[in-house]
Symmetry: C2
């Protein structure tokens, strides 16, 4: 196999959060990556801030960003994230996290992304799912990632890579810090209001914890900056 054919041509699923941004920047710095596209999937999120974050991050690195509208899929399935209820506050528990599950969301995104990657001549989809997602999101687990990668490879010749599937969010914060990821451009808060992260929802608590555990400065503006300490205590 020649050196050219071994180069990776990747489509990175970019949500605008710290995990997928770190995955993107990791590809930017990887000499084995010859081509990068980013894909933002809208499955009916309740705010546009995530897309604005993804746009500014892609622009920072000169990466082409494409948006895929899967809102019709989002509207067919049950989840508070797509408007069916209130976003739960506080640290994730099994019960509150379960409310944020969109059944087979990652699976559907990954298959659509693989098809788009194939039509652009790319060889691989990169997704930033991590170990913290496993407990509640079945389509973020290592055995699922293996199965979906096999299906996508058979379906359209594109593999699926999940570089952080065995990493914690704190590991990702450390990796991101090493790569000088512009965390200040990233967005996690499920409430998605201008004026900063709420600091109280499950993703805000996870985010603050991850920076703390990693010993990495957290540049995030939280409207309630200390809530996560009580939630975690």
């Amino acid at each position: 196999m020649s050196e050219t054919t071994m180069l990776r041509r990747v489509l990175v699923l970019l949500s605008g959060g710290m995990d997928s941004t770190t995955a993107l920047v990791d590809c930017v710095h990887d000499p084995a990556v010859a081509e990068i596209m980013a894909l933002f999937v809208d499955y009916g999120q309740r705010h546009i801030i995530e897309f604005l974050s993804a746009t500014s991050i892609a622009a920072r690195y000169g990466v082409q960003l494409t948006r895929l509208d899967l809102t019709a899929f989002g509207s067919q399935v049950n989840s508070v994230l797509t408007g069916a209820g209130e976003v739960p506050h506080g640290h994730y528990t099994a019960a509150t996290m379960a409310q944020t599950v969109v059944p087979n969301r990652n699976a559907t995104m990954l298959m659509a992304a693989a098809g788009i990657a194939a039509s652009h001549g790319l060889t691989e989809v990169v997704t930033a799912v991590h170990a913290g997602d496993h407990a509640i999101y079945p389509d973020c687990r290592p055995e699922f990632m293996d199965a979906v990668s096999k299906a996508a490879q058979l379906g359209c010749g594109v593999g699926v890579r999940a570089p952080f599937v065995h990493s914690s969010k704190a590991d990702i914060a450390r990796t991101g810090a090493r790569l000088s990821v512009p965390f200040e451009l990233t967005w996690s808060c499920y409430e998605g209001k201008l004026g900063g992260h709420c600091g109280r929802c499950g993703t805000c608590v996870e985010r603050a914890e991850a920076f703390f555990e990693a010993g990495v400065d957290d540049p995030t503006v939280y409207r309630d900056p200390d809530f996560w300490r009580q939630a975690t205590a």
Copy 2:
């Protein structure tokens, strides 16, 4: 396991064609099937006749039909079926059939369908892919169906069943005739014009051939009823 939990609760992917209609009617007659929903996926087809066919078929059997809009996915990938070029005429060859490939289309539909099935408490997605699709559509092959079923099972607890994956289209015509499938309500033609099937496109030729090989009366109105014999000769 009790009898109740062994009953199948199925979501049938219904395109309005003869294959998926036969799969639906097969479920209608199966005493092991306790619940049926039908899902029509619009991935950017160029005509609405397929949806009208699916609607009338679902109504005939009293099955709830849901429509999922994946046109945004269709528009991101390359295929003549979604408007990128002319539909090839005549019998499918590898080259002309390849033009009708939407990369990972089945894969994406199946994963979205599995998520929708899960959110309705159903246990299984049924798809009518058949052996005639294998040569060119990689995401219709038995090994792909196994992989995607495993991924969907892991992702949201819903299996994928492809009852005709080892059958020819003629086998399906025979099965449909035995089940009194209303073939006259089904639609295959890629050109999708009122006034009947064109009789010249790849699916029309396949359809006419299948009825002929099965020895089943073909109720289809073809604008060019004899073209398929020359195409096949």
